[in-house]
Amino acid sequence: MQTTSPGIDVFISMDKFEIGRNFGTKIWNAARFIQMHASKVEGFSFAAYAGGAGDAAPCPQGEAASLSLDDRHILATADAALAAMDTALAGYRFQDAALAAYDFVWSQFCDWYLEEAKRDLYGDDPARRAQVVGILADVFGRALRMIHPFMPFVTEEIWHQLAYAASDEETISRAPWPKPYTAEQKAAWGLDEEVRAYVNARHDLVTAGRALRSSLSAIKPSDKVAFVVSAKTAEAADRLRAETESLAGFLGASGVEVLCGETLSGMPSADTALGTVALKLEGSVDAEAEKKKAQDEIAKLEGFLRTVEAKLGNETFLSKAPAAIVEQQKARKEELLADLARKRALLDSLG
């Protein structure tokens, strides 16, 4: 989805071009997943989530009190994405509107919420399963309508496949545009900025933990490794402790130990808003071998850097080479410096 601000560049329909196609595949996969789980809930009807009847009851089934932090986060984020789209479209900022829809559906809904929902959908609590399916149907129904102006064909097809459309004659193009949740709904379900901020920060922490894993060559994607988190506040520590099972799932970890306010040394680590996340090396990794590897790579990078710096210090090169080549070398230098900083931090953390 390459898009444009008004008056600049090119706006391209999401239905056509490669990113649009990938996005389409992503939505189709989500649709099939949701449909499969909905089929296991007795008497479940997508049409109830099509925004009809004044959008009065998108309410997740079951008790509001049983909503998880992730449920509350995705509902609040859907609302925020809707507001962002409406503002952007009212200002004719088509790119911003498309990006708001795209980011919400791809990152927030598919990459985080669907993954989180799996534990409950494959769990053994039927009431909770039904509740999660209800949330999925509501949020996905909103998402389809939000994407519809940009991807009329794919969204129409799914609207019918999942029977959001009550009959063949109905069309998503005449379905009502989603309405923001009311203040009462938000209060009852606990949709607030605080929840969004916490879950977003937890997502950042997981992303940072995953990056640590991939920085160590000895760890294969299937390896279970142990993580430790030192939270910045007692409150964050409590929340994270309540979610270690989910965190371990997202990190592919054998376990996640949550501490509070401690300095983690001798381990590869990363700072995030919630606290420091670190990879425990004992047992899982040969620290000496990783150190050696890091040192070798640092030496290699330093060699490259010297070559680039020599070029950039050469007056003949600077005056003769085409500007694009000089720029390329400058960018290469920045890249090498960043790589070196990462490797040196890793080496430090290995003790």
Partner: protein, 508 residues
């Protein structure tokens, strides 16, 4: 792609508004792309070894309609293929009966209110075919020619032409010495420091003795020749515009067949233009006015039909007086009744509107709305929405009445689009429901051709703006930097969410 982009943007807007419950209408349609379409059909005719004149006007127009039925639906098919959310029952074409009636109505009113007039304009002219040619009917070819350096004595210099260059005489470079008798000025670039001392001076036109001014004008390229050029408003399109800027006299020294007339001077009248060129060069040389000659390569336009070298020629054309229309159209943007997105295009708009020139609306072709101006043998001239059966002045019958042979510029129908497509001049339910529309989406390159003119027409004939928002976005062009598709105008609008917009890009 250009169309796809614009269509997509409009489609997004229309779908969003409709889902929000707004009363939404998107009128799809196309304009008749007068010159471009006529050319396509004439090319097809040529393959049969015929010219449009062989068919005659009526049969030719019939042929264009046939062609239109067969191929004219491309743009609309594209819209359908894109799945655009248009209201197909509202599809319109600028040559439809209703839209044609709107054109005649508007022209007649403007004629009666003196908002249109006939004036001189410079057109491309084939001396052999005896017709005006559109820009895209001219084939430009490289030509090995000459550049003649001619001395024009400065008035008041005692020494005359034999003195010191640029003090006693100036040196003018020209590729077309035969037009010299039609010069009414010479010009220099105002920033050219070599010639600051010449500003306000007068020089003597060789061979005629006529005194003409030295004018500063940005159009002059310092690098061309000596940086001093002769200005011949009646025989060069750029000089014509310079002449308009400075209020110069237009002296037409040539006949329609490419021979010189008596205004060229008794010595040259009756000569063919190329013969005349040789004679004038010889006379300049004999009089000491010819400084030197250089070889010079340039491009020369030829008639696409007969390959004759094309002339620029003054002819009578119809114009719209833009100033009175522009004032209102600026006011509605200034006071925020119409808002441009991005806002910076409002400056572009004001800039153009403040310097607006009258709009030449007549075209010497057959495909289009024929100008509804009639002349009786008694000399009476009038405009009418219906073909008259008798002269309103002397009562003579239709056989004594002739209609203006020219047609109107395609934009003269496109500029009415926001209300003509909704049924104007009738007071229709659609007009009451959807006018003014809300959004016009288009590419910035037609702000002047289309957007500004729609604003003028809306304010003048509907008494209200045609739309509230003008949304401008990028244009996608192909590798040759031309607009990619045939000139046509799918246009659209809706009310709460409107939108509109053709992307006509062809030659106009």
């Amino acid at each position: 792609m250009g169309h796809a982009l614009n269509d997509t943007i409009q489609d997004v807007l229309v779908r969003w508004h409709r889902m929000r419950g707004d009363d939404t209408l998107w009128v799809p349609g196309t304009d008749h792309a007068g010159i471009a379409t006529q050319n396509v059909v004439e090319k097809a005719l040529r393959k049969e070894g015929k010219r449009r004149q062989d068919l005659g006007r009526e049969a030719f127009v019939e042929r264009v309609w046939e062609w239109k039925k067969q191929y004219g639906g491309t743009i609309v098919r594209q819209l359908r293929a894109l799945g655009c959310s248009c209201d197909w029952s509202h599809e319109r074409f600028t040559m439809d009966e209703g839209l044609s009636r709107a054109v005649a109505e508007v022209f007649t009113e403007m004629y009666e209110k003196d908002l249109v007039y006939r004036g001189n304009y410079i057109v491309n002219w084939c001396p052999r075919c005896g017709t005006a040619l559109a820009d895209d009917e001219i084939e430009h070819e490289p030509n090995h020619g000459h550049l003649w350096y001619v001395r024009y004595p400065v008035v008041g210099s005692a020494l005359g032409v034999k003195g010191e260059a640029y003090k006693d005489y100036i040196m003018v470079a020209t590729t077309r010495p035969e037009t010299l008798p039609g010069d009414t000025a010479v010009a220099v670039n105002p920033k050219d420091e070599r010639y600051l001392h010449l500003h306000g001076k007068t020089v003597i036109l060789p061979l005629t003795g006529r005194e003409i001014p030295v004018l500063p004008d940005d159009y002059v390229e310092r690098e061309f020749g000596t940086g001093i050029v002769k200005i011949t408003p009646a025989h060069d399109p750029n000089d014509f515009l310079v002449g308009k800027r400075h209020g110069l006299e237009e002296i037409n020294i040539m006949n329609g067949d490419g021979t010189m007339n008596e205004l060229a001077g008794a010595a040259y009248a009756g000569l063919d233009r190329f013969e005349c060129r040789e004679r004038i060069v010889a006379d300049l040389d004999a009089g000491g006015f010819l400084d030197h000659v250089e070889d010079y390569d340039n491009q020369v336009g030829h008639c696409y039909r007969c390959h004759t070298v094309v002339e620029s020629r003054l002819s009578k054309q119809w114009f719209v007086r833009m100033k009175p229309l522009a004032e209102k159209a600026m006011e509605v943007v200034r006071d925020g009744r119409i808002v441009f997105t991005p806002k910076r295009y409002e400056n572009t708009y004001f800039n153009w509107m403040e310097n607006i020139r009258d709009w030449c609306i007549s075209r010497q072709i057959w495909w289009g709305h024929r100008i509804p101006v009639y002349t009786c043998e008694c000399g009476h001239e009038w405009a009418a929405t219906e073909k008259p059966t008798a002269c309103p002045k002397c009562g003579a019958g239709a056989e004594k009445i002739t209609q203006d042979p020219d047609v109107l510029d395609t934009w003269f129908s496109s500029w009415l689009w926001p209300f003509s497509t909704l049924g104007w001049p009738d007071k229709t339910a659609d007009l009451a429901r959807y006018y003014p529309t809300t959004d016009l989406c288009t590419a910035p390159d037609i702000i002047f051709f289309w957007v500004a003119r729609m604003i003028m027409a809306g304010c003048r004939f509907m008494g209200d703006v045609p739309f509230r928002n003008v949304v401008l976005h990028g244009v996608v062009r192909d590798a040759h930097a031309r607009c990619p598709s045939r000139s046509a105008t799918p246009s659209t609008r809706s009310r709460s969410s409107a939108s509109t917009a053709p992307t006509p890009c062809a030659s106009r």
